[in-house]
């Protein structure tokens, strides 16, 4: 049994004049929780629907569990999908909604109901089985939809923006539940969202998409600490960018000239040579304010434009050689300093990222 349950090979999809997917390739490991993350219009939902069999790719292949599924209708792919609007059958009670997938497979009613009860219990909806969908709250409907998708034991569970119709309050709880249930059942899950916090909190692996292409695939930590493109760096959290020029490549990293300074980064990027123009990036929470910069490398001197007390942190808006830099200070070490004064910031070389410009 191959460890990949889903393989997508160079898939292209065009709708009229719009090219929704431009050569997407992806491998998903059995039992993992993968989140496809990107802004609206990036092609993430199209990709999900191609995996589900709701759209056919123009070119490229989709393999599920070692079988090529191009042209195979949704019901023969071993997937199940939870739609954004849940699409619970309004004319069926909750129990009938949940067992529908089993009944059409010829499972007898008693067995199907027993299984539905098991899943319902896991999701905390046993009380609702005899109600109609319109009698349920949004969160309850979502659980029923999930139960309906899970009960047929799909090889892959597809979730299309599963939390977007829920109140902010219950969203956090549902995230925890989704993750717990997925681990308990060990079911491969592909979840599409535009919400980076949602993605970070549930994913084993995040696939960041932009403009029909995959920008990066990695664990939440990799995506956060080592974004491989400017888009990813900017889309996930926030990032300060400075322009620079490569001075030299060293054993442990790279030296870059920024304004009159030389900064060191431990993050080497392929295909970058001395003399190339690059972008340097670092996150506001990774820079440290220094009162005494003497003897340290990777220190910038900046002027404070504004400092805002945000509770857990103080956000400094700084000017460095005409560029605006934002630094979040969680230590509270320097008492909030007045606008106009000079300050030094230290950027740890392991947190200074280099991007080809």
């Amino acid at each position: 049994m191959a460890s990949e349950i889903l393989v997508v090979k160079d898939v292209w999809k065009r709708f009229g004049d719009v090219v929704a997917l431009k050569g997407v390739s992806l491998k998903v490991k059995r039992g993992s929780y993968v989140v496809i993350l990107g802004p609206s219009g990036c092609g993430k939902t199209t990709l999900l629907r191609i995996i589900a069999g709701l759209y056919e790719p123009d070119t490229g292949e989709v393999w599920i569990d070692g079988v090529k599924v191009n042209g195979v209708p949704p019901h023969r792919r071993g997937i199940s999908m939870m739609f954004q609007n849940y699409a619970l059958f309004p004319h069926m009670k909750v129990i009938d909604n949940i067992i529908y997938g089993l009944r059409v497979r010829g499972v007898d009613r008693e067995k199907a109901e027993a299984k539905a009860r098991e899943i319902a219990k896991m999701l905390g909806i046993e009380e609702l089985l005899n109600r109609y969908p319109h009698e349920l709250s949004g969160g309850q409907q979502q659980r029923v939809a999930l139960a309906r998708a899970l009960v047929i034991e799909p090889k892959i569970l597809l979730l299309d923006e599963p939390l977007s119709n829920l109140d902010a309050k219950i969203r956090a709880k549902v995230r925890v539940d989704l993750r717990r249930i997925q681990k308990e059942l060990g079911i491969t899950t592909i979840h599409v969202t535009h919400d980076q916090e949602e993605a970070m909190s549930v994913a084993d692996e995040i696939v960041v998409m932009n403009a029909g292409r995959i920008e990066q695939v990695g664990t939440p930590e990799e995506i956060y600490f080592r974004p491989s493109t400017i888009f990813v760096a900017d889309f996930i959290g926030s990032m300060n960018f400075l322009e620079g020029k490569v001075l030299s490549l060293t054993d442990d990293g790279i030296l870059v000239k920024v304004a009159k300074l030389t900064l060191k980064s431990f993050n080497r990027v392929k295909g970058v040579h001395p003399g190339d123009k690059v972008l340097l990036g670092f996150r506001p929470e990774h820079a440290q304010l220094l009162l005494d910069p003497s003897g340290k490398e990777n220190v910038l001197e900046a002027r404070i434009i504004d400092a805002r007390f945000m509770g857990a942190r103080v956000t400094y808006i700084l000017d460095f050689e005409g560029s605006t830099i934002i630094v979040d200070d969680y230590t509270g070490k320097p008492a909030k300093m007045p606008a106009g004064s000079k300050i030094h910031i230290y950027i740890p070389p392991e947190r200074l990222l280099i991007f080809k410009s």
């Binding site: 629907r49 589900a52 069999g53 709701l54 759209y55 209708p73 949704p74 019901h75 997937i79 199940s80 999908m81 739609f83 954004q84 609007n85 849940y86 699409a87 619970l88 059958f89 309004p90 004319h91 529908y100 997938g101 059409v104 497979r105 109609y132 969908p133 319109h134 949004g138 409907q141 309906r148 998708a149 047929i152 119709n165």
Partner: protein, 553 residues
């Protein structure tokens, strides 16, 4: 609506508003309830002898059985055909879409008896198809009676089912079908479990509506039925053949009872079948094309039906302009010449009646719909709504006979005038008008009215200057539907017309039943052409505000 009613309504105390409200109440009471009651009383005389005939006399018993049989046969076939058209045109990519939609449109704007007439010209005893079969194969084709009528009613009334079902199928969220399929249901199973179940309310109302039309239709049974009498024809025979108005009325009341039974049945079944569809945002799923073994037969049935419709109207036009249908196809205008006096006379009457009916129907519809939606005057609102909608369930035959009985003597004598015909049309087509306004008026915010009042406009000014213009789409569609219906209708007006007020549609029907096909075809062509010219010029004049069955074109 609830929030609207729960607000205080200072305008309800305005004297002009009250006067108009009283007028609406008075009008629909006088012209809906009064004739129904007045016509009913004499049928109870002589110890119920009129109703006993339905137990004792074969002719009467058979008419009930035949009527029910025709409904039982035609309703499912017409609804099924309407469903196929609606599903295919709403969901699939259909080649020659216009061919299908325009043939439906033609059936909707032409008089129902046109199909019956053309059927006779094709398959009647002297029809060309019948003669061809006889000459070539020696087969004696006899489609007079139940079988012929069944075919004719199916092709005549399937567009009614289509209209109801098309809207419902368009509104059906395709996500349900996809969910069913991803859960493992094969396409057919998903269609049965999901689409069909969700469409159940719409299918039931289509069935009821078609049943209504078949039950009360008079023209086609008269033309094609032969010895197969239905209640509407029997009532006509009572009145026109034997001069027995009360017997005719009793027959029509029996017909009403059958109609009411269908409504009760629908209501009973539908009671539990109404679902609120719970969806969040609109979902965007591509509708999947059906497998060829579904699509090919469906398109074949549609093509055959639409070609049949084309044949119907080609026969009528051809019959109008050729010497002797089926024998001599020399082009001629003889038929038009022979009936030119009657044609001009009846067409003028019909146009006068139709235009007057359409205007009054659109106005009264507005008044009633406005009072129901905007004014809050205790219980009478419900009364206005119920009595205003009632005529949709009353067979035309009954409303025609009841009018002669009710308005022949004091307190109000109208028999023999053109007004009785106009009022009858206004009342019969009022429910359609109310429906057109309802969808428009519910979209108008009460605040608009309040705003106008705050700015100093009175209740009537607000009604005519603010609400009516906003409801102009409703006005125009009421006007158009009432016009088409008034031009084509036969069942009630055939009892109300006099030699002086003779109308075109009943005149054609008379020519058809007596075998004057050439002349009947000529006048049918004239009638259909008049309606088409009227619609096209109205459309050119008013542009997009005139909406005639446009949801599916």
């Amino acid at each position: 609506m609830i929030s609207r009613l729960s607000r205080d309504d200072p305008l309800a105390k305005d004297p002009t508003t009250i006067a108009l409200y009283m007028f609406a109440l008075f009008f629909i009471s006088l012209f809906v309830l009064y004739p129904l009651a007045k016509g009913f009383v004499p049928t109870l005389s002589d110890g119920g002898v009129y109703y006993k005939k339905f137990l004792d006399e074969r002719l009467y018993r058979d008419a009930v059985i035949n009527t029910l049989l025709m409904v039982a046969l035609s309703t499912p076939t017409a609804t099924a055909l309407g469903f196929i058209y609606a599903y295919a045109l709403a969901k699939w990519r259909v080649p020659f879409r216009k061919f299908f939609t325009y043939t439906i449109l033609l059936q909707l704007i032409a008089p129902p008896f046109a199909s019956g007439l053309a059927f006779l010209m094709l398959f009647g005893r002297n029809g060309i198809a019948s003669r061809l079969l006889n000459d070539l194969l020696g087969v004696e084709l006899n489609l007079y009676g139940a079988i012929g009528l069944w075919i004719v009613q199916t092709i005549t009334f399937f567009p009614i089912a289509f209209l109801v079902l098309y809207g419902a199928i368009k509104a059906l969220d395709p996500t349900y079908d996809y969910v069913a399929r991803t859960l493992g249901a094969p396409p057919l199973r998903a269609f049965i479990d999901v689409d069909l179940r969700l469409l159940k309310p719409a299918i039931l109302s289509a069935l009821t509506l078609v049943a209504m039309y078949v039950l009360e239709d008079f023209g086609n049974p008269l033309l094609v039925g032969g010895d197969f009498y239905v209640l509407a024809v029997l009532a006509y025979m009572n009145v026109v053949g034997w001069g027995d108005y009360v017997g005719g009325a009793a027959t029509a009341y029996v017909l009403l009872i059958l109609v009411l039974l269908f409504f009760v049945a629908q209501w009973k079944i539908l009671g539990r079948a109404r679902y609120t569809t719970v969806t969040g945002r609109e979902s965007y799923v591509e509708v999947r094309e059906p497998p060829f073994w579904v699509k090919v037969p469906a398109l074949a049935i549609m093509t055959a039906s639409s070609l049949f419709i084309v044949t119907i109207y080609s026969s009528i036009i051809l019959g109008a302009f050729t010497k002797t249908w089926g024998v001599d196809y020399t082009p001629t205008l003889d038929h038009f010449r022979q009936v030119s006096y009657a044609a001009t006379f009846t067409l003028r009457n019909s146009l006068t009646v139709a235009i007057a009916s359409a205007i009054f129907c659109a106005l009264l519809g507005f008044l009633v719909a406005y009072m129901i939606s905007f004014r809050r005057i205790s219980l009478t609102n419900k009364y206005l709504e119920v009595v205003g909608t009632m005529p949709s369930a009353i067979p035309g035959t009954l409303l025609g006979i009841a009018y002669i009985l009710a308005f022949a003597g004091p307190p109000l004598v109208l028999t023999g005038t053109i007004f009785i015909i106009i009022v009858n049309n206004v009342v019969r087509f009022l429910p359609l008008s109310l429906q057109s306004y309802k969808s428009v008026l519910t979209k108008i915010d009460q605040a608009i009215e309040e705003n106008s009042v705050v700015l100093g406009a009175g209740a009537v000014t607000t009604m005519t200057r603010v609400i009516l213009p906003l409801a102009s789409v409703g006005f125009l569609s009421s006007f158009v539907y009432a016009f088409i219906k008034s031009m084509n209708t036969v069942s009630a007006v055939i009892f109300l017309e006099t030699p002086r007020t003779k109308l075109l549609a009943p005149f054609i029907l008379g020519l058809g039943t007596h075998g004057y096909w050439g002349q009947a075809a000529a006048l049918s062509t004239l009638l259909i052409a008049t309606v088409v010219v009227f619609l096209v010029s109205l459309k050119l004049l008013m542009g997009r505000r005139v909406r005639v069955f446009e949801e599916f074109l």
